[in-house]
Every structure is written in C-alpha cells, then in structure tokens.
C-alpha cells in the first residue's frame, strides 16, 4: 500500500536529520532497519495503532525542551545494592558507573564495540524488533535500531547476584536520546535489570531480550518525573522453554510516554508478566501498548496496568493477547484500570483477545472509575482527613500492579515514591 504523501514527507524530514553508521557488525542490521522505516513511514495520527496518542512530538526532527530537574536527576534505586551503569544525556559515564565486571554477565557498550567486524550481538541486534513489526508496524523501534549509538549489550550466563541498574541522567534541556539494549540470557540464567532517571528531553529506548530455556529476566523501571519529557520505549522479548519474564514500569509525570511491549512465548511452560503503575497530573499522556503472542503449550501471561489520572491527564491502554492454534492450555490474563480523580481526566482502553486454540483460559477487563465516596466518608468518620483518605485509596488502587514486583525492597522504594507524589499533589 502506498504511503500518504504527508507521511513520506514527515519521515524524510526526520531521516534527513540523522546519520546512519555504515561500519562494523551492526551496519547491515542498521541498513535494513533504515529500509523498514522508509517502507513503513513514521507513525502519524491517522494510523490505527496511534488512534489515542499523537505521535508528532515523538517523530518530529525538533525536540521540545525539557528543563533539567535536579530533583529528578538521581536514581530512585540509589539506596539498593546494585551494579550501577550511568548514562548522561544518553552517553555512558564511566566515572559515575561501577566497573562492568561480573563473572556471570558480560556487559559491553554499543558505542565501544559498534565498529568491530564481528560481535555476538549480530544475531540479535534488530532481530526481535524486526519480528515485532508484524502484525503491527512499530516504526519508532526500527528508527532506533537504525540510529541508536549507545546501549548496553548484556550477555547473562548465570545467576547475577546484584541487580544491574541503568541510570539515565539528564544534563541538557534539549537532548534527543536513543538507546538500544540487547539482553541475551543463556539457559538457566537470571538477572534483574533496573532502569531509572529522566534520560533526556526526548528519548527512544529499545530493549531486545532473548530468553533461553529456564532463564529468568526481571525488569523494573521507573521513568523520569520531568513534566516536559517525551518518551517512547519498546521491549521486545522472546521466551523459550520454561523461561520467565517479569517487567514492571512505574511512571510519574512526563508530558508524553508511549511504552510498547512485544512478547513472544515460543517455548512451552513459560511465563510473561507485564505490569505498570502510572500517576499523572495535568498535561500527562501515558500510553501502554502491549502485544503478547502465545505460541507454545501451557504459557502464562499477565498484563496488569493501573493508572491514576487527575487534572485533565490522559491514560491509554492497548493490550492484546494472541493465542496461536497450537498454544493449548494457555492462561492469559489482562486487566487495565484507571482511577480518575476528577472529571477532566480520561482513560482510553482497547483490550483485545484473539484466540485460535480451543483449550485456553483467557480473561480481560478494563475499568475506569472515580474514587469511592462511601469509602472516603468511612475513613473520614474514623478521623482520617480527606487528603490522607484519598491517598490511602489511591495506593490501594495501585496495589495490584505494584504486587507484580516480587522484590520487596524494590517494591517498597516505588511505593514510597508514589506516596511522596500523592502527598505533594493532593
């Protein structure tokens, strides 16, 4: 199908502002991705997949300024015992980082190895992203594959004791940051990857994770609190036999956030949980777009998304479970809920199930509601003031999503951050 001229023009304008790296092992993957971007065109508002979210600010050659916020420029996970890897405006900062050394994991920087002729990531870089382009186009991910200069290439060989904490600091008001991470999980390996920090005025982050048999990837991220930042992220994961992926995202503030996940369960008896809690106030637009494919026996997937919206904030959820004909005994669960703290805020949800196997259990639900006034009165009548009562009920609403975070220390840090957010705002 021919692309609309406006789309071609917009795509060309954006591409003109970027330079494609021609050297090293990733060159052909980058060239292919560049080709995909041209063929698909960057998203425009009329695209079905972008019905609820305006992509303009994510695609335009110009970045809208987001003033650096000192408050946001620290890691929420700073108090935990982690191996920290710091990026500033998308550039690795060795001084602020811990040494990239652990016997169970190899960590390399894309910027440092990009010009090598041979690298283990060759069969992975852009590969899951390419697979994720069907049945729905994800041109911003292809754009990232083509042009990202920095990222971590992680080869996990065993059980990594400490979480790997990627910290994204922001120093300039108008940086446009692209990061592309690769995670290769060997059989039986396990690791926790944390992401946090403001990143930049605009960011486009892709993570591709190949999870071998029996491996377990735990991913927790806390997105930047800068009110002006714009972010698009993609998590591509492929699960082999008896493997596990848990991914949780906490989002507070941000003008525009689009988090996509494309998860393929290819090996039997595997588990994928994708969850998120987001809270937004005013000019806040937050979009979770999740696509989970079951293509193996006895797979379990869960999507749990909770959004608290106030002062005209907008929440979006597009979630799909696709069960292929042979994926018998699939257990799929999806819930998306919003708590609207006023009449100006809105939640737009498109939950979808597409099931071709007959012996499966799949359920989905989506709700949008106001705070329960009966419960508020009950709490008030016990001496709990309105603000505190509202906070209690709001945290209670988010609890199901937060409970997806298994590590108690990590969950606690995030719960406290949410409490702070609520206390400051209500």
């Amino acid at each position: 199908m021919a692309l609309a001229q406006t789309k071609i023009t917009a795509t060309q304008e954006r591409l003109n502002a970027l330079r494609l790296s021609q050297s090293g092992w990733s060159a052909s993957a980058r060239a292919d991705a560049h080709g995909r971007v041209i063929a698909m065109g960057l998203p425009v508002r009329r695209d079905e997949y972008w019905k609820y979210t305006r992509p303009d600010e994510l695609t335009s050659p110009n970045v809208i300024n987001a003033e650096v916020s000192a408050e946001d420029n620290t890691s929420i996970f700073g108090s935990l015992d982690c191996l920290s890897i710091v990026f500033e405006d998308g550039i690795f900062n060795a001084e602020k980082s811990d040494k990239l050394e652990d016997a169970e994991i190899t960590l390399e920087l894309l910027s440092e190895v990009n010009d090598l002729d041979i690298h283990w990531a060759t069969g992975l870089y852009g590969v899951l992203e390419t697979k994720g382009q069907a049945p729905v186009d994800r041109p911003l991910a292809a754009l990232n594959t083509a042009f990202a200069r920095e990222g971590l290439l992680m080869h996990v060989k065993g059980t990594v004791a400490k979480p790997i904490s990627l910290i994204y600091l922001q120093n300039s008001d108008n940086d446009d940051v692209m990061l592309h991470h690769i995670i290769k999980m060997d059989k039986g390996a396990s690791v926790t990857i944390l992401e946090s920090g403001p990143v930049g005025a605009r960011c486009n982050i892709v993570m591709e994770a190949e999870i071998e048999d029996g491996a377990s990837l735990n991913h927790v991220r806390a997105q930047g609190r800068n009110h002006e930042r714009r972010a698009t992220t993609h998590l591509f994961a492929r699960l082999n036999k008896k493997s596990q992926l848990k991914s949780f995202t906490l989002t507070m503030n941000g003008a525009l956030t689009r988090n996509e996940a494309f998860i393929e369960i290819c090996g039997d008896d595997s588990v994928a949980h994708i969850a998120g809690a987001s809270v937004g106030d005013g000019a806040f637009h937050h979009d979770d777009t999740v696509f989970i494919i079951h293509d193996a026996l006895r797979g379990e997937s869960r999507q749990v998304f909770k959004k608290v919206l106030r002062n005209g904030a907008t929440g979006v959820f597009q979630g799909k479970i696709l069960v292929k004909p042979d994926a018998q005994k699939t257990d799929g669960y999806q819930i998306s809920q919003s708590l609207l703290l006023d009449d100006d805020s809105q939640f737009l949800a498109k939950p979808e199930l597409e099931i071709y196997a007959d012996d499966v259990v799949c359920s989905h639900g989506s709700t949008s509601g106001a705070i329960d006034e009966e419960a508020i009165f009950y709490l008030n009548s016990r001496g709990i003031p309105k603000v505190e009562a509202t906070n209690l009920l709001t945290l209670a609403f988010l609890a199901e999503a937060l409970s997806e975070v298994e590590d108690e220390d990590i969950a606690e840090v995030m719960e406290r951050r949410l409490e702070d957010w609520l206390t400051r705002r209500l």
Partner: protein, 251 residues
C-alpha cells in the same frame, strides 16, 4: 455530652424532609437506646451527626461537649470524640485493616495535638482488643471488611471503637444479623468501654441487645422525630406489642 435540638434535615438531592425536629440530650456516662420502625430516620440521624454528605440541615442544632458539630468535617467530629458504628460497614479493597486502624488512631491524635502512638504500643493494644472480640490475626491483615461476614464486620466496628476510645458512641443496628454469641461479644465490647466520661446511643430493633447493654433511657423514633421516651420497660413493650400501640397513642 450530646445535645440535639429541633433538628430538621432534608435530602440534598430531593426536596424531602426526613428528620422533622429531633430533640435529644444524652448525658455523659449514660446509655440511650433508640428504637423505631424501618424508615423512621434513625440511620439518617446517625449519618447527619457524623457528617455524611447529601443532607441539608434546615433547622435546629447539634452540640457535642458544647461544641457545634454541624459545621465540622467528619474527621473533625471524630477527633472531637464522635464515633458511629455503621449499620452497613464499608468494604475498602486494598487497604489493610491494621493500616486503616493505625492511620485512624494517629490521625485523631494528630488532630488533637497529641503524639502518635508508637508502633509497639499500637500492636499491643490492637492484639489485646482484637482477642477479646475474637478477631483473629488474619482478619487484622485482610483489607478492611472485604470478605468479612456480617458478624465479622460488626465486631470490626467495635474494635475500631475500642481503639479510638471516643466520647460519644453511636451504634446503628450493630446487633442486626448477629447470632447470640456474636451479640454477646459485641455487648461485652461495649460494656467494657462504659464509663463516666463516655455515652452511648444504641439504635436497635430488638430488646435482645438491651438485655446485655442496659439502657438508662429508651426513645421511640417515628416519622423523623422522637415520639416517646421511657425507661428500659419501653423496650420490653415494643418487643411484646410492636410499635402500633405506641404510635397510635402518640400520633
């Protein structure tokens, strides 16, 4: 303790008057019972006193320990010493019973300018009081009233009352839906709190509860006002003959 004068209340949404001039004075150390047919306005009175939205006071006044409470927020009334055991306790998914109790206790202390109760003291108190009401550890951990049986909800109300140590306790049909044993527990819970500085207003349909919680005075409410007041024998009369005779006599 509680002084209600000519209280007239309408619904905010509809132009319907529900309380048609309630007069009632409860002194410290006393237990008053209110009985009356369904729909006579007993719950409305308890809600209006505790500050629920949706009602408009068109006339009259209500004072607690000399303070006009009708302009206070519900949490201010609670801090001032008012407590309502709800006829229908509210379920609050996601908020643990303990968290709820601690937030309430400390919320009131803060409002009164007192120090927070230490975590250890709080735990000790909750455990002891829960035990005497046969509330187990599991019920304390579970979300407030979620999945509780009718009787458990009512016992949970009494536990809150015991922890908050209010001055003026209003119990709205706390006995309905309880079996004999549960009712005894509730009555014991109430009796344990009876003292010179505290008063109770017990709304009930049944003499049964009043066998265990001996009232000083019994009021009959009908059509939004107190139509008759008497001693404990008035409750017996209701139990034996229903309301028809009394209403015929006063109306």
């Amino acid at each position: 303790m509680l002084e209600i004068k000519n209280l007239k209340v309408s619904l905010e949404e509809e132009d319907k008057q529900i309380l048609n001039g309630v007069d009632l004075t409860v002194n410290a150390g006393k237990v008053h019972a209110i009985m009356g047919p369904n729909g006579s306005g007993k719950s409305t009175l308890s809600y209006v006193l505790s500050g629920r939205d949706g009602y408009e006071v068109t006339d009259g006044s209500a004072h607690l320990l000399g303070e006009d409470i009708l302009d206070m927020e519900p949490e201010e009334r609670a801090a001032a010493g008012l407590f309502l055991a709800f006829q229908y306790p509210v379920e609050i998914p996601g908020v643990g019973n303990m968290t709820f109790l601690r937030t309430a206790v400390n919320g009131q202390r803060k409002a009164r300018g007192q120090e927070e109760m230490s975590a250890a003291d709080f735990l000790k108190q909750v455990r002891a009081k829960a035990k005497s009401l046969k509330i187990d550890a599991d019920m304390l951990k579970r979300p407030v009233n979620v999945g509780f049986s009718g009787g458990e909800k009512k016992r949970n109300e009494i536990l809150q009352m015991a922890m908050l140590e209010p001055k003026m306790c209003i119990l709205d049909e706390t006995d309905s839906g309880l079996d004999v044993d549960a009712m005894k527990l509730v009555a014991e819970g109430v009796n344990a709190l009876r003292d010179e500085g505290r008063a109770f207003l017990v709304i009930t349909h049944y003499q049964r509860l009043l066998d265990h919680i001996k009232p000083d005075l019994v009021h009959i409410m009908a059509d939004g006002r107190i139509v008759k007041t008497g001693g404990p024998e008035l409750a017996l009369e209701v139990e034996n003959n229903g309301y028809a005779d009394i209403l015929a006599e006063v109306m």
